[in-house]
Every structure is written in C-alpha cells, then in structure tokens.
C-alpha cells in the first residue's frame, strides 16, 4: 500500500498500572502500612487463612482486609463477624484487581491506621499475576487437592509471588501430592520464594507463616 509508514512506539502496555502501583507502595512505606496481596484459585483457602492469621497475630498488629468478590459480600461478612475491619470491592466480573481498585479500597478502609492489610484478590491463578496491585508483598496459596503440577500451568503466578503457602495439608493423605516436587517446580522460576505448609482448618503450620509476616513487618518499619 502507498504511504504506509512505520512509527516506533516502545511503550510498556501496563505502564500506567505499574506507575499507579508504585505510587501506592510509596505511600504505604510512608505510612508504614504493610500490605499483602493474597492470590489463589477459588476455594484454596484465602478467607480461611486470613481468619486464622488474624486470630494468631491480630492481638499485636492492627489488621484490615480488602475483599474482592465478584458480586457477593459473603467473605467480607465472614471477616467482619470475626471482629476484623473489612471493605468490599465489587469487581463486577473483573478477573483481577488493579492498582486503581486497590487504591479505592485502601482509602475506603483508611489504610494509614493499620499495621497490616490483606488484599483477598479475585480467585484465579492467571489474571492477578499480570497486574501489580501496589502491595508490598505477593502471597499465593496452593491447596493440596489442586495438585503439585500447578507451577507448570501457572508459571507467572509462581514467578511473581514472594511467598507460597501450601494449604490443606490435613488432606495430604487423600491426595497425590508431593511437597518436595512442588517446591522444586516452584523454585525453577523463583528460587527465592518462601514456602510454608499449613492447614487453615487445624491451624497446623500457621506459625511459620505468621512468623514470616512479623519478620517482614519488622524489617519494613
């Protein structure tokens, strides 16, 4: 065709979100509010782990929760019933939270008044991995019934997570799950990932996870 010209663009597609996320992180550092972005498949145990975590360390730290639920308030109600402050973000079918939505949530809860805020991200292992929320740390939960092959199917999620919480270890007997295999597969793309094995049902192993949180917060503030 006549007259077609080539123009360099050279821009990151997600640069707006990345910049907004960085601004949030700067504010969180100024306020000394530690934020953990919690991601997993539906039902892996995000809400259960939040409740157990708050029960273990909520006496020492002021904890808040930002809930992303497609269209219900079920999880936010559960959290509030346990005496923990929570705000609900209606994602209305959105498959992930982005920095702008998280900003709304942080403002809604008054993040500067908290030591620790959890974001319960939308339940899936694909989309949330692509969008920086502005959280200080990314944590993912993989539950035993999901299988130890997930790093091969969702590599990006494993590569961007600072922590991997293996949940539902009380179900280990019922499943074909090898923790050493999972650890090795996760380390392939992310050798520095911290791994904890817990049961949010029985409470087993919770202290490894909460000790990690306490240490991170201490180093942060």
């Amino acid at each position: 065709m006549e007259g077609i010209k080539l123009f360099e663009v050279r821009e990151d597609i997600l640069s707006d979100n990345d910049a907004a996320a960085q601004q949030l992180r700067d504010k969180l550092r100024r306020d000394k509010t530690f934020v953990i972005n919690l991601m997993s498949s539906p039902g892996a145990g995000k809400t259960s782990l939040l409740l157990k975590t708050a029960a273990a360390i909520g006496g020492d730290l002021k904890i808040g929760v930002i809930e992303a639920d497609i269209d219900s308030t079920v999880d936010a109600e559960k959290i509030r019933n346990a005496g923990i402050e929570a705000v609900q973000l209606r994602t209305g079918g959105f498959c992930h939270l982005d920095a702008a939505m998280v900003k709304t949530g942080l403002e809604g809860i008054g993040s500067q008044n908290f030591d620790l805020i959890f974001i319960e991200n939308v339940g899936n292992l694909v989309c949330p991995a692509e969008f920086d929320t502005g959280a200080i740390r990314n944590a993912m939960i993989l539950s035993v019934p999901e299988g130890d092959d997930k790093p091969m199917k969702y590599p990006l999620m494993f590569s961007i997570s600072d922590v991997l919480v293996i949940n539902k270890i009380d179900m280990m007997e019922l499943a074909d799950f090898e923790t050493t295999v999972l650890r090795q597969r996760a380390a392939e793309l992310n050798p520095d990932i911290s791994v904890f094995e817990v049961s949010a049902k029985t409470g087993e192993g919770i202290h490894g996870w909460t000790d990690w949180i306490k240490k991170e917060i201490k180093d942060f503030s």
Partner: protein, 117 residues
C-alpha cells in the same frame, strides 16, 4: 480473562502515538509478549476490533511476537532459552543444576511499533 483491560491499554497508547504523529489511520501494531503471559491472540484481536471501531486504529491488525523465556543459572551464570513445555524439568545445560534459576525475560508486555498512513 484480562485481555479486555490489556486491549484498552494498547488502544490508548496507540491513539496517543497516532495523534502525536498526525496519522490518519493505523494499519498494524507490533506487540512483544513474553511466553509467560497467558494472553490469547485471538481474544486480543477480537477485543481490539471492538474497542477501536470508531477510532483511527479501527481495523488495525495486531502482530503478536512471542518472546522466549530466558533463565540464568545462579550456580554457573549460564543463560538458557526455554519454552513452557520445558517447565517442571529444567536442568542447567552447563552444570546440570536444578531449581536455581533467575528469570531474565519472558514477562514482556510491550508495544514495539505501528504502521500507519
């Protein structure tokens, strides 16, 4: 999935460059997407066609170039290109080390250039 917000972002950036360069129509857009990203080419184009309908970029073709996953062995500094199929059984070709690689690239989400008249 997240193709929709990604496409919105692509369109905004492209329109910004289209205005800056005073073009009358964008014909094609070249994207660099890392192998680790789970974007579906077909959906990207589909959403793009929809969102760009009444803009200078309406009808533009997305050319999606996939960039390989590149790892570096932290034991011996060897770099290696892998595909998603290799995941789960990666061994360093130089020192046979396993499970200790840093990710050099594979996460790109980048607009390289565009053709326009």
């Amino acid at each position: 999935m997240h193709e929709l917000p990604v496409t919105e972002s692509i369109l905004n950036i492209v329109l910004k460059h289209a205005e800056k360069n005073r073009v009358s129509r964008v014909v094609s857009i070249t994207l660099h997407i890392g192998e680790l990203s789970d974007l579906e080419d077909r959906w990207l184009q589909h959403y793009f066609d929809y969102l760009s309908r009444q803009t200078l970029a309406g009808g533009a073709k997305l050319r999606i170039e996939r960039l390989p996953i590149v790892l570096k062995c932290r034991n011996c500094d060897q770099t290696m290109h892998i595909t998603r199929k290799d995941l789960g059984a990666i061994e360093c070709p130089n020192c046979a080390g396993i499970g200790d690689f840093s990710l050099v690239s594979g996460r790109q989400y980048y607009i390289k250039d565009m053709e326009a008249v």
